[in-house]
Assembly symmetry: C3
Homo-oligomer: 148 residues x 3
Amino acid sequence: MEFNLHPAFDVFVICAALLVLKMIVVGHFTGFLRIKREAILNPEDVEAFRSSKPESVEEDPEVARGLRAHRNDLESTLPFLAIGLPYLMTNPSASIASGLFIGFTLLRVLFSVFYLLGVQPWRSLSFVLGELCVLVMLGQMVLWGFSH
Amino acid sequence: MEFNLHPAFDVFVICAALLVLKMIVVGHFTGFLRIKREAILNPEDVEAFRSSKPESVEEDPEVARGLRAHRNDLESTLPFLAIGLPYLMTNPSASIASGLFIGFTLLRVLFSVFYLLGVQPWRSLSFVLGELCVLVMLGQMVLWGFSH
Amino acid sequence: MEFNLHPAFDVFVICAALLVLKMIVVGHFTGFLRIKREAILNPEDVEAFRSSKPESVEEDPEVARGLRAHRNDLESTLPFLAIGLPYLMTNPSASIASGLFIGFTLLRVLFSVFYLLGVQPWRSLSFVLGELCVLVMLGQMVLWGFSH
């Protein structure tokens, strides 16, 4: 690909990589909890990971919390990743784009920590501010799209 | 990025922005229901949002419906967003690409409305037709990939 | 878009299309199980698809397994699709990129088969190796980002 990359592209690449890494960490945290709390849902996993407790039908509360934190990443981080490149291709201001990318990434890291620790209202605040970054990107995209 | 954008790129940008916006609305609708129906799963949220009902272990049926509608977006809208740009880079016909983008977007908006209202068979129909748009894109991508 | 595509772009296009197709198949497998096992959660679907069993509140175990297999695709396949193009734009070695794309795609197909059949430790092994492919891509992206 021999073309001029957007000046904020390198910031996007680093942020996207860190966000996916963070998602993987949250996912493994849930898997780790599942083994530690012996809350295993697949019968074939019971033999491998369980010591004594019977096979569970319902979720352990801490595992369920980890799953909700991870699911929130699917709902919020994945749309950001999906629109990041099309957004850059609409040629936004490099400083605004970099600011939104870095802001969103920091807010999502904070959100995950707050969610797993159950700290309110900081969890909701970091979520809403992260969503605000995405909404600004969406607004810029729609404006660009209709002016072309 | 100084290169010639695909003529359907602006349609994709608008559709992608609207689809992510729609996902956010569906997500907030669930959050709104959760507070309204007092069906709150995180213990730390109980104090902030609950009036009287004890902490729930199971999901409220309407909240569970909202979660399923939102989850369907993860399963269907996110793959569309992820392949949209690679698809455009295979240089498809602009009218076919625009038609698929606009068709998918309208069908997903309808799907969400039908899901939240519980209207069948329109919900299933809008889902299947939206999936058909994605399958056409996938077919064009595979054909392009193997002819290059 | 008139610019030089990365030599591994056609491999990515084929892999991305096959991965989304696989996700759709896993999703339909769950829907098919839901009807076959008569484990239907939306009240409006009961009339259309159910023969005799009363409306279920909890999930059927086999349907729940299908949902977990599908959810794992959201957690693992979607981040891969989202970073595929930014990764290629950092201009990685074509043979490494192709190897990672093809490896990840094969591992995810195996993972889905192993998950639906409940075959351990192969399910976990295919998951971890697939994640390793993503981690290599993330590492290359971060290194590239900080050297630009």
